[in-house]
Structure formats: structure tokens, C-alpha cells
Symmetry: C2
Subunit: 420 residues, 2 copies
């Protein structure tokens, strides 16, 4: 990979009214030394030292008919274009600080009048950021070690229903999943610390069966307990997880927010399973918000070990190309000396049928795949569901069609039949 | 105001493929006890206890031609409609927790395939939330007391250029603003702790002149120093602010995130000036993301004393109706016994001309107005700029047209001339 840039760089997809060069220069000005009215003390030297620069500008589309996002600017009789632009900032403007990076690369510029579409596509950070933040403490290798899965994907599931079980019902379900040979189990993001299923009681009940299963089998199933809450709650819950022998925690990054995730990354002694719920409001419009490629870098640097990426043919609105681009970016190094790789987590309607396509597009099994109905609703029960998923991935890695592999693997055959 | 609801309620503007009733029931299911495939242990009693409910559904528009947001669902030959829907959740699902509230009312539902537009319009919270979170510690009254402004708007400005000044240059500018009679000064959100203008040195240099001016004048200008950073940095910077006699701090809420802002709300002994930079990516598309009415409730409950709302005829893309709705909501009580009022902060291209319209629409002077060029670029200098703004607000409150008031108020007259 290339050396990290000396300046902070951000790529944008931008739709502008009038001259795009002028519009991105306004963006650069607004996000650095710019003022709309010249003010005293604003010397050319001072501006040059702090100014953001337009590094590249490439027109993508001329003659856009109507502005994509509403604006109070005059839009009739003006030319609207789309472009890809790269801006850069001197790191001296705010130092190697992720929170201040956000305010700079993703601050007021989304509200500019002359901008009728703006999406941050990518960011590239100077090496000082690699020194300032921990990155994932466990990543791929640490997760595999703790989960006891040397190779192949980590096969997981989600406790469903999302909410409603009490601690003992949850533990009973976990016991049957452990018996079924699962590698990984996660709380639903809606499950936290409600009075019907308090966090502490849930952790104690679940870890009792997980630890007992580990004593019998020699392998501890990794359970990602959702500790999302206020910071003091998360600290206390983390300590309980450690005391009970848990090997993973889950946090919803849009709920916890950046400084909370940075703090969690610093104090956690367990892998951090980062849930992205809410991602839709940040990304779903193609000309607004964040691309996953840019966004996930922030959380990996802050310490996320696992990052959700949806899955092929998912039940949500995201298309397959987007899913694969997301997964690939989690497995792409952030810095030459500090890769900060996070395990992509595939979820949402996942089953045996997605294995060949996922492996084919990614060329790696360094991932977690969580299947809900795909495992617990297997006609042969959860153990058969887990077996079927493993068989599907074996076939995918070996390049054998699922239907052929199913001839000698009954669970896979049943799963294909049930999914048909 | 009505009593707080017993269940958590959220209102949405929603665009759906097919039957809207069915689509919002899917939303309710996904965000509570729903599973796409029936799973063992999922009894009707258990579902009923935890299920989200569709409280209200009102069709707003039939026959939408093309889906607003992209989806992988089939969209040709299907009916697309827009509706306003209210969902509710039992608080027992996760307790009075703001982070878990976010994951529930603003989680995965934005990604649902059958939803081609989704915006959260409002939230209403049970009284338990009022007990669980501090709300603004200072609010209107505390801010007025510390700023020494008994009535009328708090007149403020922003240090510009945003970045580039060193600490002494910043302090020199602050000195001239203090001499000009300003009430309030804020850092730009791009100014944090860069090597050219370190936070500590800036605070010491600025507070030296602010304290000296207070000794002379008997009134301490309120300076909102941007302490946005990692949590340990924010704690340390808060303590420095207190030690140096500062009376306000500023934090960018989208950079700090929710648990960081909650933590700041708990440890801060100074008013929290909440900056919303990045708001554009959360809100700019009318059928995606957050309305300010819903969003600002979260931050007020977490402890924000001042909330940015843009301003009339601002330089950004937001229209005046939206600005006024935002300001009004900050001045609307959150709970009958705990109003949590935050001072709305008007900014962006503000000057004398906005005073009558702002006062007319709001009927209150419980606000901060920050003018950049409107003050420092006044032909008579900053003191004249401050005087002109005060004169404009006096006229607005008295119901006197600006042009008439300007006949006897030279600074206002000059400002109107300069702005023409």
C-alpha cells in the first residue's frame, strides 16, 4: 500500500450549482480558514498555513436536470453538475484527533447552499493517527484465537426474538446453540438491560452454560453481549463480562458515539463487536452522507474488531456490490505499519446459499457469518443448521457447487431444500 | 403540556412500497420482538409483552411515481405511498437509556427493503427518562446569570478566521471584542487543539484578557471554548477552563457522540454550548434521517444548554420555516416537571436585518445570536457592530421598523447601509 499522506485527505461525490471548481473551493474555505467577509488579522500567510486545498476535481455528470437535495439557492437557469473532488487539510489545523477530524471532513459542508448533493467517499489519514489511536486489539487473529476457530468462517447466530426472553430462556437457547456446535452468538441490538432481561442476570445465566460447555468441549463459544449504554454502565458491564469469563462484547456505534467508542477501545480487554444499526440514515441516499469505505475507518481506528456489513441477498435494501465493497474495505490495511483489520460480519437473511458468492467475491474466510432463521429454523434443528453452513463454506472454498456437495452432506441438502 | 406517555413513542414520515399498514407493521416487528422466521420459544405472550405497536397511521400521499430511496425490492408495478406513522414501545424493552433508545427508534428500520423514505419527526419519552438524565444544568437562566445579560438576546460572535490565529492573536481579537461590549464569543468548530493554537495556551491567553476586562467592567464575557476531543482530553480541558475562570464550553455533538455528551453533561460544571456541525448529513434530505424536533431532545436531555439552529436568511441551505421550528422546539418543555429548555443559538450570516423576523416568529429573546461579519466587519468596528445588533433587537422587541429606529441610532443606520 502507498505511504500515508502528509495531509488529511477526503474524497467526495458532490453535486453543485454553478461552477464545480468554485463550489468545492467554497467547501475548502468553509472547512478551514475561510470567512465569508474578510476580517481583520486575516493575512495571506495565515490563510495559506491553514487553508484546505482542492487536490483533485473530476466532472462526472454535466446537465443535471433538478437539484437532488433542497436548497434556498436559486436553481432555475443555473447549471448543475456532479463531480468527484478530493480536499486536503494540514494536520496542524487540529492534530491527530478523530473527533475533530469529523468536524472538519464531515461538518458544516453538508449544509452549503451551492451544494445539492454531498457524500464522503473515502478518507486517508497521516501516520500520526495510527500513533494516536489503538485500532483493533484483537482483530482477525485475536478473534480466531478466542473463538477457537483456526480457519474457515466463524459461524454465528443472533438470539431471537430480539427482545422478550428472560435470562433463563436466553441461556436455554444458548445451551442448545452451544450443543449444536456454533462458534459465535450475539445479542440483538435491541436487547440491552431492560427489567425483563437485565444485563447482569443475562450474562450470568448465559456464561454459566457457555462455561459449562467449554469445560466439556474444550472450546468456548464466543458470545457478544450488547453492553451499549451510558459510559459508566459500559465500564461496569465490561468488568462483569471479564469476571464471568465472556470473550466478546457488542456496542452499537451510532448509539455510543465516537468518544464513547474510543474510550471503550481503550479500556476493553475483550474484542469489540461493532454494530452499525442506524447506518441507513447515514448512507441510504446515494448523494448524501457517508460511504461505508470512509465511515468504517473511523471505528476501526477507535478499536472495533468486528464490523457489520450486511450480507448478500439480505433482507434490507442494500445491494450485493455495496455489501462486498464494505467487506473488502474492512480487510484492507489502514496504514502500512498498522493494518487495523476488522473482521467483517455478514448478517441479515444469511444462509447456505450466500456462501459461494461471498467467498467468490471476497477470496477470504476471515469473516463472521451470523444466520438467524438459517440456523435455528433448519429442519434438523440448530446443530444441523450449523453443520449445513459449514458444509456450504467448505464447498465454496473448494470450488464445489452447493448442489453437488449436498449429495454427500445431508444437512446442506436439507438446508437447500428448506430454502428453495 | 400533556403528561409524558407511558410507552416510548416515535413519529415517522415514511414512504413505502405496497400497503403502508403492512410496511409499518414490519418496522414495528423489526424494532421489537420480530423475527422473519418463527423460532422456538417465541410464544404469543412473549411477543405481546415486548412488541412495538403501530399507534397511528395517516396516509399523506398516494401514487408516488418513483421510490425516493434506492431499494433492492421490486418497485415497478407496485404502489408507493407516503404516510405519517406513530410507533410505540414498552419502556421495559430496554429501560430509560438514551443510547438504547437510539438503537430502537433509529436503528435498522432505515434499511428496510419496503421502506423507500424514512424520517424520524418526533419522539416522546416516558417520565423515567427525566429521572435518568440531568438535562441542561444552566439553560436560559444559568446562561443569563453567568453572561450577565438579564434580558434581551445574548449578542455573540465567532472567532474568525476559523483556524490560523495563534493564541495571542486570538486573545488580541477577543480583547477588541470585549472592549466592543460583546456578551458571548465562541471558537469555530474547526478550532480545537492544533499545534499552531493549542487549547491550553489559547484558553490562558484568552481568559487573561477576559478576566482583565471583567475586573474593569464588572461583567465577564462568556467564551465557549471548543473542547471537542477524546474523553480524557475533554475532562482535562474542562478542568483547565474552570481553573482559568471560563464560563462556557463548546462541544460538537456529532463528533463527541451520545455517551460522550452524556458523560460531559454529568461532569461539566459549565454551560454546554452544543454545536451541530454534520447536521446536514443527518437531515438534509426531506425523506431521510432526523428532524431537528426529534434530534435535539436527545442532546437536551443529555445536558446541552445551548443548541445551534442556524438563522433566518442564513448562508446555508436551510429555509426560514425550518430554522424557526428548530428554535421553537428548544424553547418547548420536554417534561411537565423538567422543561430542559436550551437556548437556541442563531448563526450563519446573521446581522441586524434578521432581528425583527426572528423576534416576530419566536416571541422571545431567550436566545444567543452570533454574528461574524455582522459585527467585526461593521464600518465603525466591532463596538459599533455590537451596538447595531442591540439596537436592531430593541427595535424588534418594541415593534419599531429598523429603518425608523436607525434614524436615531447611528450604528444601526451604518449596519443597514453596509448590508444593503
Amino acid at each position: 500500500m502507498p505511504a500515508p499522506p502528509l495531509r488529511i485527505e477526503a474524497d467526495y461525490l458532490v453535486e453543485t450549482i454553478g461552477d464545480p471548481r468554485r463550489a468545492v473551493e467554497i467547501m475548502a474555505g468553509e472547512q478551514s480558514s475561510g470567512t465569508f467577509v474578510p476580517v481583520p488579522g486575516e493575512t495571506p500567510e495565515l490563510k495559506a498555513r491553514s487553508a484546505a486545498r482542492v487536490e483533485r476535481l473530476e466532472i462526472l455528470e454535466e446537465r443535471i436536470e433538478t437539484p437532488t437535495l433542497p436548497t434556498t439557492a436559486v436553481t432555475s437557469g443555473v447549471e448543475i453538475r456532479r463531480a468527484r473532488a478530493t480536499l486536503s487539510w494540514p494536520i496542524e489545523n487540529f492534530g491527530a484527533s478523530l473527533p475533530n477530524l469529523l468536524a472538519t471532513v464531515a461538518g458544516n459542508l453538508f449544509e452549503l447552499k451551492s451544494i445539492t448533493g454531498l457524500r464522503i467517499l473515502d478518507i486517508r489519514l497521516p501516520a500520526a493517527f495510527a500513533q494516536a489511536y489503538p485500532g483493533p486489539r484483537f482483530g482477525i487473529e485475536g478473534t480466531r484465537r478466542l473463538a477457537g476457530v483456526k480457519d474457515g468462517p466463524i459461524i454465528g447466530t443472533i438470539i431471537k426474538p430480539s427482545v422478550g426472553f428472560d435470562p433463563q430462556q436466553t441461556a436455554d437457547l444458548v445451551a442448545s446453540l452451544c450443543a449444536g456446535g456454533i462458534d459465535f452468538i450475539k445479542d440483538d441490538e435491541l436487547q440491552a438491560d431492560g427489567p425483563h432481561c437485565p444485563f447482569d442476570a443475562r450474562v450470568r445465566a448465559v456464561m454459566r452454560v457457555v462455561n459449562a460447555h467449554a469445560d466439556r468441549s474444550g472450546r468456548k463459544v464466543m458470545v457478544a453481549f450488547n453492553l451499549t449504554g451510558d459510559l459508566d454502565q459500559m465500564r461496569r458491564r465490561h468488568d462483569l463480562l471479564v469476571a464471568e469469563g465472556a470473550t466478546c462484547l457488542m456496542a452499537s456505534v451510532n448509539s455510543v458515539g465516537l468518544t464513547g467508542m474510543i474510550e471503550l477501545g481503550r479500556f476493553s480487554t475483550l474484542p469489540i463487536h461493532a454494530h452499525r444499526n442506524g447506518w441507513g440514515y447515514l448512507s441510504r441516499h446515494p448523494l448524501l452522507g457517508w460511504s461505508y469505505v470512509a465511515w468504517q475507518k473511523i471505528w476501526r481506528l477507535a478499536g472495533a474488531d468486528h464490523m457489520h456489513v450486511n450480507g448478500l441477498a439480505n433482507k434490507f435494501s442494500e445491494d450485493d456490490d455495496s455489501v462486498i465493497a464494505s467487506a473488502r474495505t474492512c480487510l484492507t490495511p489502514l496504514f502500512p505499519d498498522k493494518a487495523c483489520l476488522a473482521m467483517p460480519v455478514f448478517s441479515s437473511g444469511q444462509g447456505v446459499r450466500q456462501a459461494p458468492g461471498t467467498y467468490g467475491a471476497l477470496g477470504s474466510t476471515d469473516l463472521i457469518v451470523t444466520a438467524g432463521g438459517g440456523i435455528v429454523a433448519h429442519p434438523g434443528g440448530p446443530a444441523a443448521g450449523v453443520a449445513a453452513l459449514r458444509q456450504a463454506w467448505e464447498a465454496a472454498v473448494a470450488g464445489i457447487p452447493l448442489s453437488q456437495h449436498a449429495r454427500e452432506h445431508r444437512e446442506l441438502e436439507q438446508a437447500l431444500g428448506a430454502a428453495a
